[in-house]
Amino acid sequence: MRLDIDIEKRLGSFSLKMKASLSGERIGIFGASGSGKSTLVHMIAGLMDPDSGELHLDGTCLFSSRRNIGLAPEKRRIAIVFQQAMLFPHLGVKANLLYGYRRCRPENRKINPEKLIEVLNLQHLLDRGVNNLSGGEKQRVALGRAVLANPRLLVMDEPLSALDDALRYQVIPYLRSVSEEFRIPYLFISHSVPEMQLMADQVLDVANGCITGISTPDDLARAGMASSPRGYLNLLNLERAHLHDRLFHYPWGGGTLIVSDGKTGEGSLFELASRDIILFRKNPEAISARNMLKCRVGEMFDSDGRKGIVLESGGEQLVAEIVQSAAVELGITPGSTVFAAIKASAFRRLG
């Protein structure tokens, strides 16, 4: 997918001026609320017209003030998943799901509804009304409805913000499996760094109505390490656990990770804050932390006076965070060997 943006828009005292060329399948749009993310995607989807400029998607002109083109939203084939599910209250789950599919030309219908319903695990909800679904179920139906419209581009406008933490991480695996299974290019809008790490390959940074840069989710997480309350969040997909002494042992890198809140039988996503990793120069003999990993120091990076240390072990990476003086005292340099101590309870299972 290739998206060329060069637009201007004034809304009261807010002014937006953006210019960028994006190509990729999983693009994140990151910024604080009020930065203009939603306005941007509304204009891309045709729900709002820019004051002037050009918008092109894969060579199709969506909008051009110069050539007086403004493609109607229904002709753009850009489906949106909103923050609130916005299901049609007068239709049942099935009719909601098929709303866009029925309006899609037969030659563009590439996604099989039955397959999608299976991936989103919606079979048991099909005959229900939409008003008594839970928040997570509603959002899954909304996602299915958008995907079944067989869009060229899927826009997800903070689809997880209205959900609480537990639900959010129940929905994320569905978002990921849908995007992997059906390969629809998407824009994922959010102000959450972990969501960007999970959902995007590259990130468009937006602030005050301007694009401030294009980076990767990892850059974003590294830049925000010092300022975010829990530091850099390592996201680990762990599977094949076995239970031993009420602790879960997951194979990882060159060794094993021991986790207190794990799950056998299926893979889980874990979050580990960079501040929960303690580094030692030599192997301490006795320590209460259950994980003691021997790692090689890869890269080191700065974030506002803190040092981020990229630890490598058997092809896997973790980011630990220490203060500048600790790095000097321990003599940590790229290529050196360190021991990382992590408590089994430091791993937070997300879903």
Binding site: A79, I80, M86, F88, Y99
Partner: protein
Amino acid sequence: MSLSHQDIAAIGLSMKIAISATLLALPFGFATAWLMVFRNFRGKVLLEVLVNLPLTLPPVVIGYLLLLFFGRNGWGGAALKAAGIEFIFNWKAAVVASATVGFPLLVRSIRLGMESIDRQLLQASRSLGATWHDALATVILPLSFRGLVAGSSLMFARSLGEFGATIIVAGNIPGLTQTIPLAIYDYASSPAGTSMALSLCAVSITLSVGILLLHEVIGKKLEDRDSA
């Protein structure tokens, strides 16, 4: 309580006029409400004032203006005459008079229904491939259905009671244009008509109470359905 043939004709005519007026006004009421809720255009305030005018204007004034417009020398009258339609002092004139007077009530109810529709639902339908008229038919219409029902029943009830505009454009011809209120007016002005007038009053009250009850019941039913 006794009703003469003439009274029964008046009741029938009242029903016929009220139903016709409501059906006639419905598409216009829906379109006007849609314009006012979903479209931005110049002169919106003017339209708003114009639509609500019959609510505050004496019905007699409306009747008189309709008479001027549809009369022998008015534009509307000339067009109707060319089409060979008998209009003034005919039940059709009473329909137009009732439709005009009840129109603001209808538009208000539909508008309330439409204003409660989340704009993002429309954005969702458009982004899912629906054209604006598709979205109108599949999202706006079903979601303003309650407003339509409420507005129609109010308008129907108002039409049953229409007096001022009707007497001017349709006259008070027994069997032809005499509705319940006009018949009561006749009885009230004759010394022996008290009991006859009261009988028709009773009919009027029964009809009104019935419609308002129906209005409540349908409203409740639709509410239950929406939250199911």
